[in-house]
Amino acid sequence: MKYDRKIIVCMILIGAGLIISILSYAGVLHGDRFVGIGSGFIGVGILFFLKQLRYIKDPQYKEEYDLALKDERCRYVRMRSWALAGYIMIIVYAVGGLVAYIFRQDFLANFLLMSVCFVLLVYSVAYFYLNKKY
């Protein structure tokens, strides 16, 4: 039942991609970007579908996949990976924002530096909430 819902999501992605691509080719949606978006949706939908198909057909893969979801070390690794990705993103955005500011790319600088502020704000709220919870 759980993977049936995932297959429906795959179908929705592929369907949306097809609709966007057809509308773009028919001239209803203007611009090449819509062909790209449509193709992207189709590609992601197909990959996701193949993954789900393997999950259904291959019992060993299903067992390994389910175990990896429950395994506490895998959870720990995932959590650490997200934390590391967050740190790296903040540093890259902050440095990129400063470089953009120096080169007078004001829109880009504002976007990058505001993104850093937003992430730090979300972190503070999350910390406050989780500190109360635990």
Partner: protein, 71 residues
């Protein structure tokens, strides 16, 4: 934190993947535990000790100075 998982597992003649299945974790997790790269949660440590029919302190060797350098 050091542990005696590998030693006890070998005495009992259990393979890493078998132990992983019994505990509901992957073989890699057992390998990481044995090498000391990963410290288990109290629940997993308890499960391991129960499975081996021992107390937690007989399987895991607690070193009070060990956590001082961890961030």
């Amino acid at each position: 934190m050091k542990n005696r998982i590998e030693e006890i597992r070998k005495i009992k003649g259990i393979r890493q993947d078998e132990l992983g299945k019994m505990l509901g974790v992957s073989r890699q997790t057992i390998s990481s535990l044995e090498n000391g790269r990963y410290n288990p949660s109290i629940m997993l440590a308890h499960k391991i000790a129960v499975l081996f029919g021992m107390h937690i302190e007989d399987v895991f060797i607690f070193d009070e100075g060990e956590n001082e350098n961890e961030v």
